[in-house]
Point group: C2
Chain length 175, copies 2
């Protein structure tokens, strides 16, 4: 019953969701799994690789259940829905924006929600160039917004207006 990679990732996921990035250390993770810190390095290359896997897990749900809203041509409802779901998924994990921001930076056009947004926007009649611009803009704005919100949450400051500010921003970008 030796440790395997899935157990390491699952335990890391649990710590991240429950206690946040500040508590997700390799030493804490090892303690939780009942092994020495060095043992983890048999299963993952380093902490950065582990965080990349967690980022993938956060945005994974976007790829399934792509309920295409039957909107009129020229209607950006699909993109609007995608970016709202992306925000929800990242917001639901403590310090999620920090983790996903690194993954996005490493692979801007490959990491979700960018490719799904590009597809949604081109099928609505936008040029590939414009779709890519808007997809990157929406993604980076969303990460900037959620970073701000989660920073405030970690300090127990109010965030009541931030959802509306996000939605108004998305409308401005898609306008």
């Amino acid at each position: 019953m030796a440790l395997d990679r899935a157990q390491v990732v699952d335990a890391a996921w649990h710590i991240l969701q429950t206690y946040g990035l500040g508590d997700l250390s390799m030493r804490r993770l090892a303690r939780e799994l009942g092994v020495q810190p060095g043992a983890l390095y048999w299963h993952v290359a380093n902490k950065q690789e582990l965080l990349a896997v967690l980022a993938q897990r956060m945005v994974g749900p976007l790829e399934t259940s792509s309920i295409r809203p039957a909107g009129a041509a020229g209607d950006d409802a699909a993109a609007l829905l995608l970016v709202a779901r992306f925000r929800s998924l990242v917001l639901a994990v403590r310090d999620g924006a920090d983790v996903v921001s690194v993954a996005h930076a490493l692979d801007p056009l490959g990491m979700q929600p960018v490719p799904l947004l590009v597809t949604a926007l081109t099928s609505q009649g936008r040029s590939p160039e414009n779709a890519e611009t808007v997809a990157l803009t929406l993604t980076r704005f969303t990460l900037g917004s959620v970073t701000a919100q989660q920073t405030r949450e970690s300090m127990e400051l109010p965030t009541a207006t931030m959802r509306e500010e996000f939605e108004a921003g998305v409308r401005a970008i898609l306008a």
Copy 2:
């Protein structure tokens, strides 16, 4: 010739610019100043306060030299210039976006460039509500973009397209 707060901040500023946030530790800072780590806590409350001061220093130049471009009414040239200068200032300091993002989260409407943008946008005929939305959207998009770029720079990955992506995003938001 006792140490004072200005010397602490200046030394921190130097380390941040030269080596980045990963090297800006209280212990490293103390070593550079030739004191014990505990001595710093006479001059600053904690590391977070120090980073807030550094964020202010980064965006400080925005407030002077507000060369108002004599554009036609309805022209967003002033906002465009402001956000471009904001990006340059943050981009010029290693990990600048991480530091400024926290300061923005703590005081979204008070931290620059937001108040300057609101002024520029309202004087161009936008409503206060719309000006605030656009100012926050531009600021959070810029922080998201620079975070991505500086993450790539720290890993020595190419960033050739990122300036154009930023400018296209700004145009989409102001459109």
